[in-house]
Amino acid sequence: MNEIAKQSAEKALSLVLGAGALHWTSDVNGNAFGWVKLCDPKSLLAVAPLLAESGARLMTATAYRNDKYARVEGREIAYHFDLDGVALTVTVCLLDTPPRVPSITPWFKNADWNEREFVELYGIVLEGHPNPRRLFLDKSLDAAMLDRLVPLSTMMNGASTSTLWEKVFAGKQLPDWAKGENN
């Protein structure tokens, strides 16, 4: 168990939440897991910079409904950090309707995708995100998207891959779309 990392997590969080806010569990290999709950989403703005200062890395964020079947309203977000091998989960209760949470991208760049993902999957309103575009598409988005952008397969393979379709349609008429003339 990494005592130094544990202490730096304790120190960072105690500045905002007071001593003893964190509770710890461990697994059979002695790895430490810290857990803390913030009842006000705005506290995140105080906690995030302190964690960043102590060298924390954001692993991911999990949004969830307090009741899976939505029989009761209420959502929470668990932010999972790593401090040199110690896993720290900071859970934020979202009490507003609609649920709102500030972005932590100023301190954790990789929060970008994680936050955009929970915005679209859980309908959470994100405040202060530098790039609040949708991350995973849905049908309401511009249908021309796929035409306009460059697919990875094209990037990785170049533009003369009609060979594949010639094999697939061997002995038959090659459809126009497979001829690759526009590639």
Binding site: F136, L146, L149, V150, P151, G158
Partner: protein, 362 residues
Amino acid sequence: MTATTFTLPVGPLHVALEEPMYFDIQVEGETVRSVELAAGHVHRGMEALAMQRNYLQNITLTERVCSLCSNSHPATYSMAVENLSGIRVPERAMYLRVIADEVKRIASHLFNVGIMAHLTGFDSLFMHAMEVREIMQDAKEGVYGNRMNLGQCVIGGCRRDIDEDTAAFLLGQLELLKPQLDELYGVFEHDPLIRLRTRGIGILSCEEAVRHAVVGPVARASGVAYDVRRKAPYAVYPDLDFEVQTDTKGDVHSRALLRLREVVQSVKIVEQCLRQMPGGPICIDSMPMVPPGEAVARSEAPRGEVFYYVRSDGTDMPQRLKWRVPTYMNWEALQVMLANCQVADIALIVNSIDPCISCTER
């Protein structure tokens, strides 16, 4: 400069990786100025599915997140459930899990460096790397009965034991592999074409690696010596002797060489496991109820840290199951690696993060 999006003829021409991740690339002449990613085209909603399946069914589901790291997902998922339920996995099963993970790592890394050779136009090396990888594919087929989804993990242990004959077969495959790995490393390290095409491109500095929170070989090749097997050890890794591979160059070449060195370490790990593995059961007798609560677990998959979070409301299905794959952050770091690169190098740089769309688009 204006945004210009068009279909780019990139690199040698062959159907290799047909995966639906899309890029908005701004170029100035032959130089890439910026890259934006558009994801989600094959998003499968697997996390939502996981909340509608019981804990046992989710082993099968998580094994299908990805093919190349198909053992890392059910193994890490099982670890999270075991952490929550206080299940102690028999020691022999922990060795078996490590063997499965390392066998998959060998095959995954060889695949990636093989594709790199292909993208440089060195197709005989590509075919050679894939042929070497085939030794491991045969090993998987012989030990687990299949070549991709091993079906090895269950909550509380493993499904298949490795008896003496199978262990001898696996050791034999590793013996076949070892001289080939030495030879491959020599070629990847010294071949003038490989060096010319891959050195000094796609550079990710240590500061940028930390800023983007990248993981796995991408982080380690940039000087971030983070390997979950050592930083947050699980299974029997604390009892195994291996070295975490690092580099400081942070370019495409160093990432490939690092993966090849990791393969050598993986071979060493599997050999130790087969030598040290104690007798005894390979699984717990019965699955206890999963209590209400939450737990996390992580492991070092071929592409880096895999993270699982499970939240239980006391029923037989998770209230929430979340996982984060290594490629998730590594994508965004491409914006740094591709900045100001030549159009001809795009494919090599993208391949050097060993991208997995299947993982990203759960």
